[in-house]
């Protein structure tokens, strides 16, 4: 991507176009944050309801930057040995066993305990060196020579401790391994952190990141998304479908349908060779949009009304 030297407005338009060719339709907010994160060397904390394309954003970014995506899925109990690095204990043990015999040869000419010790010290800490270091996603991203996109997915699911491990990476792009020292990033990765806000992130973490909130898209943006993702769907149906989903989102539901659900629904309708929305069809496929029995029951009666509005808008 060669947007980096352009002036901001051009660069942001370029990024938008780039995302569009990668099949990710975004608004200016998102493009701005990509631009800023490149300019300021800052990670992006992406928040928003589930299914609005937070993870997709990272994937699309990796595509347009042609940088490999390294993904770390967070969960409760995730610790540094899974996320940062781990020593290859098996290999270490194996080596000690094998090398036991060699020890005799090495210390052959040493006289007394002290000299032997002296001799051993000369070999250094070969067991705790990079050769025995098993790089996990975060370390992989730092060690990579080419630029990578690092996606730390659902950071809100992880523990407080893990957040603290992340701080060093996020602000300085480095990791401290006690046995070795500090490992600095060869090329600074583009870091995305996504969160569903199931818990509040600490101020320290938020301070180190740009904050990007992705809300549900408005109708025109959503139409474009569907157009890109399900191009086979004919225009009239697409418009009605988006209008229907937009109306659903104004209702008081347990879980509002997100973009990913709209896409799924569009695909379903296409498979069913639908050419317009009708009440039975919608009722039968409502479970693609709504994920709670209660929501489906409540909305079932509203379906004709929504369809009427959608049809009125787009004949």
């Amino acid at each position: 991507m060669t947007f980096i030297d352009k002036d901001p407005a051009t660069a942001i338009d370029l990024i938008k176009e780039g995302f569009e060719t990668a099949g990710y339709i975004c608004d200016r907010h998102i493009a701005t944050s990509i631009y800023l994160s490149q300019k300021l060397d800052k990670p992006i904390l992406v928040e928003g309801p589930p299914g609005v394309g937070k993870t997709e954003l990272a994937k699309a970014a990796s595509e347009i930057l042609s940088a490999p995506l390294i993904r770390l899925q967070c969960y409760e109990g995730l610790d540094e040995s899974k996320a940062l690095y781990e020593w290859k204990y098996g290999k270490q043990l194996l080596y000690t066993q094998i090398l036991k015999e060699k020890l005799g040869d090495l210390l052959e000419d040493a006289v007394g305990l002290e000299q032997s010790m002296e001799k051993l010290h000369q070999f250094g800490d070969s067991f705790y060196s990079e050769k025995f270091l098993d790089a996990r996603p975060l370390l992989q991203a730092l060690q990579s020579k080419e630029k990578t996109v690092l996606l730390i997915d659902e950071i809100d699911k992880s523990d407080h401790e893990f957040e603290a491990y992340l701080l060093e990476i996020l602000s300085d792009y480095q990791i401290s391994v006690p046995e070795i020292g500090t490992i600095k990033a060869k090329t600074k990765p583009l870091v995305f952190l996504t969160s569903n806000n199931s818990r509040e992130m600490s101020d320290a973490l938020k301070r180190r990141c740009l904050h990007l909130y992705i809300p549900f898209p408005d109708a025109s943006l959503e139409r474009r998304i569907i157009q890109t993702r399900v191009p086979e769907l004919e225009e009239n149906l697409r418009n009605q479908l988006v209008s229907f989903v937009q109306q659903l989102r104004t209702q008081d539901l347990k879980k509002l349908p997100a973009v990913s659900e709209t896409i799924d629904w569009a695909r379903t309708l296409m498979l069913l060779h639908a050419d317009k929305l009708d009440v039975d069809l919608v009722r039968n496929t409502l479970n693609m949009l709504l994920k709670f029995e209660e929501d489906i029951d409540n909305m079932s009666s509203e379906v004709p009304k929504f369809i009427a509005v959608a049809r009125k808008e787009f004949r």
Partner: protein, 481 residues
């Protein structure tokens, strides 16, 4: 960082968007990248750098619109392209043609907030009077925006604009600034021209004066928005934290609720992080290996991954009788907030009889649950003895060595036996018993107060009559945990 941005940061901080130093450095960098030219873009970019939650985002947007909406640069003749009005820092804007507000914000706006007061209003006032009166007509005629802005700034400094606090002062300050810039002379000039029959010239001049008036008014309004609303809120919150709970006005209840919630959240955040390593679950290979290197790699000492979150178990008992009714509201509010953040709080209320209100707290919001509790259990004369008996029946068996029992009450039992023996029993079982009393220590034991008898059976018994005190006491407790 330019002054405009610094002021904007300050405004944000007063509006509940805590912008840290590193964030403001980033913001400065962002402004350098984007310039003030494309306002929408700048807003988007700055929002991502400075506002880190959705609520903050909302405040940010409000502040941004407010801050950059004032037309304080007197653009008297819109066709004129501006030439040199920008600061060196914002040189990007130089090529941009008008929409001038943002570009010039950093020119006109900063000065009222900077240095204003120190010079001594009177002296600099004289100066600007002397220096600026004569040329104002000239400036207006020439439409020299830089000069006009500077004159406005000087006059604003002279009028001590940054001390503005109240809405009602707007007219006064506008007038003072205009007079400082030499309004009188301009008026005289206008009437002279009118008399001499130069109606067009007079109209032009008065039209431009009107525009200048608007610009000054905007500058004043912006300063007002910048300083007073945020400061006033801050001020109010500080006061509320310290005021005696019984004296809090009903209209401040909303603010108190926010404060209380914030405190409770902070306390529980601090407290729920305590963890203990358990002796089962997944083996922590790394630690185990490390530990056992000394034993030739034979796994001799094991380490386990599973940790136990030590969430405190709290039983809170609140007196809601008439004597403490005004305080009870806040104690209950605090309990409610604790309930929201701590999973294992059980709340009880009493005056005569005692009953559990945990379910009501869960079900209803505080606006309903608190009056409900006061209504259901309050209004009778306090009897600590009975309350403790009820409490014993209800939940003595649930009290174990991890339970904290908090009593909120004045210890005035209306002559009835306070049944300290039950309290003693509770203390033996519980991790600790805390008694919070809204009365000062010096009157404990006076009249029907049983505090002196009660206190020995509590781990701590403290006076607690303001939110700050309440927070301090609880924090100390949690620290010693």
């Amino acid at each position: 960082m330019d002054k405009a941005l610094a002021d904007f940061v300050e405004m944000l901080r007063y509006s509940d968007v805590p912008v840290s130093i590193s964030e403001s450095v980033d913001a400065a960098e962002t402004v350098r990248l984007f310039g003030y030219k494309d306002r929408g873009l700048l807003k988007t970019a700055l929002a991502q750098v400075m506002a880190k939650t959705i609520e903050e985002q909302e405040s940010f947007e409000r502040c941004f619109d407010e801050f950059f909406s004032y037309q304080i640069n007197p653009d008297l003749d819109p066709e004129n392209t501006q030439e040199e009005a920008e600061n060196p820092e914002t040189s990007q804007t130089a090529e941009s043609s008008p929409p001038p507000t943002a570009a010039n914000d950093d020119e006109g706006q900063p000065s009222p907030a900077s240095g204003g007061g120190e010079g001594g209003g009177g002296f600099s006032g004289e100066q600007s009077q002397g220096g600026a009166t004569a040329p104002l007509i000239d400036l207006l005629e020439r439409n020299d925006r830089t000069e006009l802005t500077m004159a406005m700034t000087a006059a604003a400094n002279a009028a001590n604009l940054r001390n503005i606090v109240l809405m009602t002062q707007r007219g006064l300050y506008t007038r003072r600034i205009m007079e400082g810039m030499g309004l009188d002379q301009v008026n005289r000039e206008i009437s002279r021209r009118n008399q001499e029959g130069d109606a067009a010239g007079a109209d032009r001049l008065s039209g431009r004066t009107e525009l200048l008036f608007d610009a000054v008014r905007d500058m004043v309004e912006r300063q007002l928005a910048l300083t007073s609303s945020g400061k006033a809120k801050q001020f109010r919150q500080d006061i509320l934290k310290n005021v005696r709970l019984s004296n809090v006005e009903h209209r401040d209840f909303k603010y108190m609720r926010l404060l209380v919630q914030r405190m409770a959240k902070r306390l529980t955040d601090m407290n729920s992080r305590v963890k203990k390593v358990k002796n089962r679950g997944h083996l922590d290979i790394r630690k185990t290996m490390r530990r056992n290197v000394a034993y030739d790699g034979i796994l001799f000492e094991t380490h386990w991954k599973q940790k136990h979150k030590d969430r405190p178990k709290v039983l809170a008992v609140c007196d809601v009788s008439g004597s403490v009714a005004s305080v009870a509201r806040f104690l209950l509010l605090f309990l409610y907030s604790l309930n929201e953040v701590l999973p294992k709080v059980r709340s009880f209320a009493f005056s005569g009889d005692l009953g559990e209100i945990t379910a009501e707290f869960d079900r209803l919001g505080p606006e309903e649950a608190i009056p409900y509790a006061i209504d259901k259990y309050g209004g009778r004369s306090t009897d600590y003895g009975r309350a403790l008996e009820d409490f014993k029946d209800l939940c003595l068996n649930d009290i174990d060595n991890r339970t904290t029992v908090i009593f909120l009450g004045d210890g005035r039992s209306n002559g009835a036996d306070p049944r300290v023996d039950i309290l003693k029993e509770i203390k033996l079982r519980a991790k600790r018993v805390i008694w919070l009393n809204p009365e000062r220590k010096s009157i404990w034991g006076s009249g029907d107060s049983e505090m002196l008898r009660i206190a020995p059976y509590c781990t701590t018994a403290q006076t607690c009559n303001s939110l700050n005190k309440l927070e301090l006491i609880l924090r100390d407790l949690l620290k010693s945990n």
